[in-house]
Amino acid sequence: MDFPSCLRPTLFMTGPLGLSDVPDTSFMCSWRDALTLPESLPQSSKNGVPHLAKGLLWEPDTPGPLPLLPPGPDPWDPGLTAQDLLFRGAPKFRRQPQAVLDVTEQFSRFLWDHGDIAFASLGKLMLENFKLEGARSYSKKKTVVSVKRILEDLGGHQPWGQVASEKGWGGCPWAYFSHRQRRFSILGDPILGKSVSNLLGELLYEELAMRWEQLLLDDAFTGGALAWLPGRTSRIRQLVYPAGGALDKLSLLAVRSDYHCALWKVSRQGRPAPLQVLKVEKGATGINLSPHLPGELVVCSRSGAVCLWTPHDGLQQIYKDPETLVFRDPSPWRWADFTAHPRVLTVGDRTGVKIIDTQGPPGCGLLLFRVGAEASCQKGERVLLTQYLGECGPDSLQPTLHLICTQFSLYLMDERLPLVPVLKWDHSLPSAPLLAQLLPPPRPGCARPLLLGGQGGQLQLLHITGEGASTPRLAGPPQSLPSRSDSLSAFPLLEPRSQWQLQERLQAPTIGLAATILSSSSTPVLSLFQLSAAGDVFHQRLHLREDPRPPSDPGPDCHAPTASWSPQATACCRRWLKALLEVPPAPPVWAAPTFSHRRLLSFKEQQKVEGKVPEGLRAAMAQGRLLQQRDLGLLPTAEPPPGPEPGPKDELSERLDAAWEGPMAAWWEQQQDRTSGPGRQPKRHKRRMQLSNTFSSLSGHLDLSGATSPPHSPDWTSPVSRPRSPVTLPSQELTQDLWAQGIPSERQQTLRDYMAKLPLQGNTPESASASLSQTSSTRATPSRQRTLRDGTAELPPHRDTPEGATAPSSQTSSIWATPSRQLVHVLSGSQPHRKKPRMGF
């Protein structure tokens, strides 16, 4: 192993982070190498390879990556956004825009949505003050209230009606207080008012803050979850390339989920099979496979423990420190990897990376990287990813290099020269760089590409050179590669709702990255695979363009040529889109509880109401379905397809005409094909027309997704309400199990915490929390897709089956059960609308 002959001059500063927020610029400039290292040039020219090649550029074949696999059969929920979590307004006198976590809103929603849970224990405590049956109270005590009467008093009040009103919590127009209610209020106020909010408020705030931090940085996917195995692609957690001595007859794969680690055996023919699985109680944050010894892994957990693990010898704890390395940081994220010495490991956390000798006395070690002045770190800078880049062989970098990424910069560290990075570069990625892969040189003597992926989907490609005794440095300027959202232009134009769905899908976080270089052809080709949080695998090919022109001779055009979409590429996107739109939208995670409307209905029946409209209304209510136009006896008006109106020819009309000839026309044709295409579709279309012959052209467009999907219910209702049939079980019938499944998983943790603190009696808390923990632990695994699929399989039948439709429901509740986002689109019919804050956090 050659030792770097000469390091670049650096002022050695020790101590904590720099006080300034301004990054150190001395590392930034490409010409720095040329100016300060005069000896590096003759060295490279000796090899006959221009290492400072200016035009090392990977040209994409298409402007963006293409979907490789059809979208999964399950709907994908993009999850929380900043809009869901933050308070929208701010004091006007603020100089800067202000944002805070919206606890109040979430709190009130929580009480509405899960009142039965929030107040269940209180109900039990106050049981002696309630009389559940019987018309009259035998007791003279004023502290006993008849529940039946109270409910009667409350009858007709639909509290969630107020949620919808924009006016806020103004109060119900019919509200009046009976004596009973007043007594109840006096009785319950001290308990209802404080204990629930005290207990829950704290948990809610904690949960909100945690969700928000997770939204800003989700470290579960550190390292990525995509493996490219010889001969095939696969969607497997934790990308690991066994190399060197570990490349024996069998390849091995290290797999990590939140609470389990596994070693998988991979062969070229068969499917990967798990060899051994390990349960990590505190949660595993990192796993890596030894590049030196087959089947040896290092695993680290949130508790700060680092263990060596071999299937043969089992676990061996080699390091444990619940504290962070350099300064105190609350993050329990830990990482461990190997080094050039098979018995020496790196252990990392947010504040630094340490080298530890597993054979030496426990706890001893040497800091490899410190978030501090030595590396010219900025204020608030933290380690997000560390990776051992070692690999020996010809044309490779030193096997002692480690990559360290922070939210601002990328560092290359040589384990023989700790603390001072041998290379630093500001990546300026607008999201967390959690994925990185060092690739083999595309050609012998070429620099090695280093792929860096942000969680937001951005990709950057750097070239690193530095064989033998020269220090590693960047060869040529870094390059950004197209992200999945760049592929939007390959898709046909859609109506707004679907367009938004597509856009959301393409912008899903990247959770896996795998790349390979095919050097067999004359031009090396970089094949790039990305896995998104929605479960999509996208693929892109780039080919290398080495700029042939000398630096002194400027070419006629210094713009990089732009790629364009081939017909095959757009066809591929079209097919994928078609499959995507066929995926039924996600079922509602929650539906408002309903009060029985039967009593109200029978009351109405007594007053003979005349007229078609009230009758239709009553019929719809009795059947518990959505009120439709046909119920009101209004006939649909035949709408001609929109088209360019012949009119006075001016420039605007001509431009509109031209625009119409483009994608819009294609879109319209596609719509026409959908609704009146050959084969099975016309029949179904006809049948639907018989069932409900009131489709306007608008709802016809909206039914795009349902055109080929199987009917969900024998009773076809409006396509708007169909995909999400309401959960209409009365709230009192919701068993613990049912609510556990109906609750958004992100809320389950809070609920569980809350339940754990509640003074509930009997066996309900156990059963409830048990079912919850099971769900959440499986849900919490990064294998989101698989779990979701399992989750849907386990769902109670009230989701999509006719039972749900026949269960008692009212107009109000079914409207409420239809997610507001959809309603908005039906009503406004345009404008991609950000969904309303979900009833959760």
Partner: protein
């Protein structure tokens, strides 16, 4: 709102709009936080149009640079210069640095740029009244600039000054000041908190300039090598160190010589070092003949559970035989000594039939039978 009252009491931070309760509790700064917050926060004063334009322009420049569109970047840069007129003094002060950084980057790669353009750009920027680096880089710039005039002063500053020291030593050597050169190197090697690469430099320079390393008094060199061995046991100079120790008369040096060799071969980057394997094969034979079995066992005990997989697997046997027969031969000998003749590596290699090596193999088998630590010979 969670901490409305707290917000009222706390003075509004002027510089960071994302400085609110939504900042991560860990103190971590996230460059993408502000974008998230801005997507929600609707009230409060927004950035001025000018600031919005310039920040958009900056992101365009960065985007163009990452797409290698130098011309486009240069055009945007032209517009970006107006930030020097920003009424916000903080931004105005930070601007020249950004312009310098991005501008020089563009000029470095732009096909039409030349040294003249670069110089013009530099002088124009220096002319700006507000031209200032941030404190950190300013200090550094001053340091390296001022002290580069005077090597000896620079060398005393904590830091990595390899190229300067090297040039300085070369200069002193050129003028015949050998002692001065030696002093500079020694001072550099032991000064400051980083004493790794100076060691390396010192030793290497010594090798280069004196060219008589192995003949000089062992006590002094031993000291340097000893430290280097402690911190970089994988160093290429460790083989020199081994030779030095082998030639010593002290028995403890002979033992250390074995330790150094094993240490070198522990590293992934050294596994194919033929010289190291040759030295080890030769030295093992020598030591075992000198009946120091305990030394070998000392070294082997800590390695016996991982060296077989690391060096002597059948995978490596095949691959080494294919790539480097001499290496395979040396390794097979060592494997035979350490693991016995039943070990996979030894068996695989000794079964190979190769004309040139036939004699060698015969001798190897004989030696292994005699010296293997698994079955100690009679």
């Amino acid at each position: 709102m969670s901490d409305f009252s707290e917000d009222l009491l706390r003075p509004a931070p002027e510089d960071d709009p994302a400085e609110t309760s939504v900042r991560p509790r860990s103190g971590m700064r996230l460059p993408w936080l502000q974008k998230q917050v801005e997507s929600v926060a609707t009230r409060g004063k927004k950035e001025k149009d000018f600031a919005q334009t310039t920040s958009a322009c900056l992101s365009f420049i960065q985007e163009a640079l990452l797409k290698h569109q130098w011309q486009r970047a240069a055009e945007y840069m032209h517009s970006y210069l107006q930030i020097l007129e920003d009424s916000d003094s903080n931004k105005r002060q930070a601007a020249p640095e950004i312009i310098w950084k991005l501008g020089s980057e563009i000029l470095y790669y732009h096909p039409k740029s030349s040294v003249e353009t670069f110089n013009t750009f530099h002088s124009v920027l220096c002319y700006e009244d507000d031209y200032a680096y941030s404190t950190a880089s300013q200090n550094m710039f001053k340091h390296s600039w001022k002290t580069s005039v005077n090597f000896s002063a620079l060398v005393q500053t904590p830091g990595v000054w390899d190229p300067f020291v090297k040039s300085y030593v070369e200069m002193l050597e050129f003028y015949g000041d050998q002692d001065g050169a030696r002093e500079v190197l020694t001072n550099y090697a032991y000064d400051g908190e980083l004493n790794r690469e100076p060691h390396e430099l010192y030793l290497k320079s010594k090798l280069t300039f004196e060219k008589c390393l192995l003949n000089v008094q062992i006590s002094q060199d031993y000291f340097f090598f000893q430290i280097l061995y402690q911190i970089v046991p994988s160093h290429t100079l460790m083989l020199e160190f081994h030779r030095l120790l082998r030639k010593s008369d002290k028995e403890e040096h002979h033992k250390l010589g074995l330790e150094v060799l094993f240490g070198v071969l522990d590293f992934a980057g050294c596994t194919k070092n033929l010289t190291a394997w040759q030295y080890l094969a030769k030295y093992l034979r020598q030591i075992l003949m000198g009946s120091h079995l305990a030394w070998v066992q000392d070294e082997w005990n800590s390695r016996k559970n991982w060296w077989p997989g690391f060096h002597f697997s059948s995978f490596w046997a095949k691959s080494d035989w294919k790539e480097d027969k001499a290496l395979a031969y040396e390794k097979a000998f060592v494997a035979g000594i350490l693991l016995g003749k039943g070990c996979r590596y030894f068996r695989y290699i000794s079964k190979q039939d190769h004309q040139d090596l036939r004699k060698k193999f015969k001798r190897m088998k004989k030696l292994v039978k005699k010296h293997s630590i698994v079955n100690p010979g009679p």
